[in-house]
Symmetry: C2
Subunit: 334 residues, 2 copies
């Protein structure tokens, strides 16, 4: 027997531990072309909250009574697939369980550089890394000399956006985060020029203006809501915003109204562009190449908040929604 | 003596006739490089409302006690400028007066095609024409086969957007307008596939879904507010919106909140892009070329609502803000 996490019921608003169920799972035989993977690390990501709702989004919803899934890295322990022998390390999308049966076509062998944990493929060298990379460079069209603001900057994606911007020659890198401690982390550890705590009473636009007195050229939005309004206030003419997520609204049962300053999109000739990382898989090799160099030379820093054990995965997910992670939230399984 | 319209006071909210003042003006001598122009037609445009407010927008504000200005076409009646002899027809930016002293550098000689009124340079062959052309083709990136929705579709810009889309091979062209009569005008005169009246109680998203049951690829926004929300609801994945103006909010003293469905910008990977026609002057020759052909062959229709006399210009402007025009609102002066 092995274990995994099922969706017991669909959350309404903020989920709690009761929507998850730790289940014992039988070990089933492999079909041809499949491998059995002992998961070493699994990912909890904000987009999974959307999949807990009924109805179509850009990924199909999780089903009640079924196992959840998501990104994971593990070791092949049994193989009926050519090219994926026992012992191989693979990245795949059958997380939320200790052991997974995976079609070889949906698994990718990975070889972490020396000193890099396999969990990097769930973060800096994986989906969050690609999200930061294509969102900043391709979607927002970042150019050397741009002043960049990223919200949710202490998270897996945000922390990379700010560092990529710095390494690519931003004139100023500003971030927001949800605690004083995270704000210090941004400026003291990650090289942000300025950062501010959005969980205070001070209006966001005022805080952003103080942090970026000369305005911003690019906004990378992980948060939505008031953050987008503040960014629109502070963007220069012809400024660009890449909209990646709106974690502030994921648990709202009614969508709050949007910014009242959208007319500035016209007067400032702004471009707002939403994106989904899955559309940009072709850029993965470029990202791994550039990010890998930065990792090897220590130019980029990537932190993980690691929770141990499949039984603690629900709490890791809930903590991530509450913003308790610094960098990538990871569940270590084995 | 001649006459012009001054700004008597800055309007708060909806302006009335009291903010304008009809003034007698002395005839001043020309400097070298100037021409005196007897204005034949002048333009009233929505963007002028913004210039009546204090404070910087993308064009400087009008000054209280000073003449308003705006696009006009007139005949040179006195010249101290090489290349602009008496009798030449010129387009310039000193409207709101019967006679204008214009620097030659700010005037452009125009030669209307046979059968075309000089007022066309204030509409289909001028700023509204270019706005429709670049907004649809360049900003929204219209492609043959796209389904297009344009709001404020019976206005100067909107009526051209829909027709350009049709002539360039749109799969469906849908418009909104503020009366049943205008709705009929769109479908019966301008070749729109469907249109609806936004001044009813029926929710806009519902009306748009009925008019475009297969959804839309491109939205051209002249109105803002609820129209933008409805468009976001109905845009396909990877849809594009060109934001040109938000006439629904021009007279609001407090900006109403924006759409509550902005998270769909992410899930649908939408692009929203604001623009100002002044940034796209380089496309004027292309526009005049293509639009001129359509005009000559009768492929495109351009209507004007004409008000006569400088003393009626304020009422023309106010009527345009209330949506009383069909096509371009024009003031005929001589």
């Amino acid at each position: 027997m092995t274990r995994g996490i099922k969706l017991r019921s669909r959350p309404v608003g903020w989920p709690d531990a009761g929507v998850f169920e730790l289940a014992e799972l039988p070990v089933t035989p492999l079909d041809a072309g499949q491998v059995r993977v002992r998961n070493l690390f699994m990912s909890v990501d904000p987009y999974m909250r959307g999949r807990m709702n009924e109805g179509k989004s850009y990924v199909p919803p999780f089903q009640v009574g079924e196992l959840l899934d998501g990104g994971a890295v593990g070791e092949v322990v049994e193989s009926r697939a050519d090219g994926l022998p026992v012992g191989e390390l693979v990245l795949h999308d059958r997380g939320w369980r200790e052991e997974a049966v995976v079609d070889a076509a949906r698994a990718r062998a990975v070889r972490p550089p020396e000193g890099i944990s396999p969990s990097a493929y769930l973060g800096v060298l994986g989906m969050p890394g690609l999200t930061a990379y294509v969102g900043l460079l391709d979607v927002a069209g970042f150019q050397e000399g741009d002043a960049v603001f990223v919200s949710g900057a202490a998270g897996a994606v945000g922390s990379l956006v700010g560092q990529i911007a710095r390494l690519r020659g931003a004139s100023r890198v500003v971030g927001s985060a949800g605690s004083e401690e995270k704000v210090r982390y941004l400026t003291e550890q990650l090289g942000f020029d300025a950062a501010f705590n959005y969980k205070t009473d001070r209006p966001l636009t005022e805080q952003l203006r103080s942090a970026a007195p000369d305005g911003i050229d690019v906004y990378f939005d992980n948060v939505g809501g008031d953050h987008l309004a503040a960014a629109i206030d502070c963007l220069h003419d012809h400024g660009r915003a890449a909209l990646c997520g709106a974690i502030s609204g994921y648990n709202e049962t009614e969508q709050p109204p949007g910014p009242g300053n959208l007319f500035k999109i016209v007067t400032k000739r702004l471009t707002l562009r939403g994106f989904i990382v899955g559309d940009h898989a072709a850029r993965m090799p470029d990202m791994i190449n550039e990010m890998g160099d930065w990792l090897r030379t220590g130019a980029i820093r990537f932190d993980e908040t690691v929770v141990e054990g499949i039984e603690n995965a629900p709490e890791a997910f809930l903590g991530m929604l509450r913003g308790e992670n610094r960098g990538k939230m990871i569940v270590k399984l084995a």
